[in-house]
Subunit: 178 residues, 2 copies
Amino acid sequence: MLALLSLGLLALATRAVGPGPREGEGPRYDDQRRLIPPVGHERWVLVGASLGLGYAASRPAEGPGAFHRVYLEPRSFDAYLETGAFPEGTMLVLEIYRAATGAPPRRQGFYEGERLAVEVAVKDEGRFPGGWGYFDVTGGPAAPFAPSRCQSCHADHAATDHVFTQFYPRLRSTAGAP
Amino acid sequence: MLALLSLGLLALATRAVGPGPREGEGPRYDDQRRLIPPVGHERWVLVGASLGLGYAASRPAEGPGAFHRVYLEPRSFDAYLETGAFPEGTMLVLEIYRAATGAPPRRQGFYEGERLAVEVAVKDEGRFPGGWGYFDVTGGPAAPFAPSRCQSCHADHAATDHVFTQFYPRLRSTAGAP
């Protein structure tokens, strides 16, 4: 009985939020204008991995930092390769992993430990000032970060339309590749 | 005329090798028993990224090492999640990238520079002693590495059937995760 009740509540909760969008469906929001995490982003195209990547002028040394993986929704990836631009509705997912060292036979370097966070960048010009919104969906649907948290740095320093293509081998132009 | 001749030679060369296998088609070899690089592995499932990961007991310190990306063919990924085993014909691709630091606004950490190499692990029990063959396909079709180069370490230290699942968040069991 309790189990049935729990299932019922779970179904209600799922219905209230609605399922996240699948590949090619574009961003989806709930009735509080929160972004619903996309489904299956782990199968999107990985455009870049990094370790400890940081932009701050001063930061104390504190180990290797975290791994980042950045995925791009496949339809937007295709569009970018063809046109050099990110279409309306583009979503990129940033996964953050602890840098781990404990598993043999590792003796040097770092691999990905537990996943710490999942964030999403969405190009939705009708909705976000500047055209892009940024969300931490680690715990489920989320309101956008304040513009000062992500948007201004992306606007000022990202090589292509708020996206740090300079860090992504498949996206940066070979001419300008560092 | 020269351009036409070149195109003709290119077409001949392409025909001699044949196109690489697409997603879900399994490994393919040429008439010299060399592995033909699979097509489109960049859209397979990324199972792990690492930086400078090494297994040697003694190695001089020499910077951060290289980024590794490991991709698993999607049908084998599905099978592994369902059964915990890698089916015959499984292919994993290892991409190696230089660790780069030059592009602003980076101030800390490392991102992926140029791609240095593409290697493939293939499970083909009828063809390789131990069940797995390893290939460097950076330059095109390739004969397998000698068993001492890859196979013995994979056989001795990989957590699951010659695959280093201990380093791949989606593949390792949560119970045994370091």
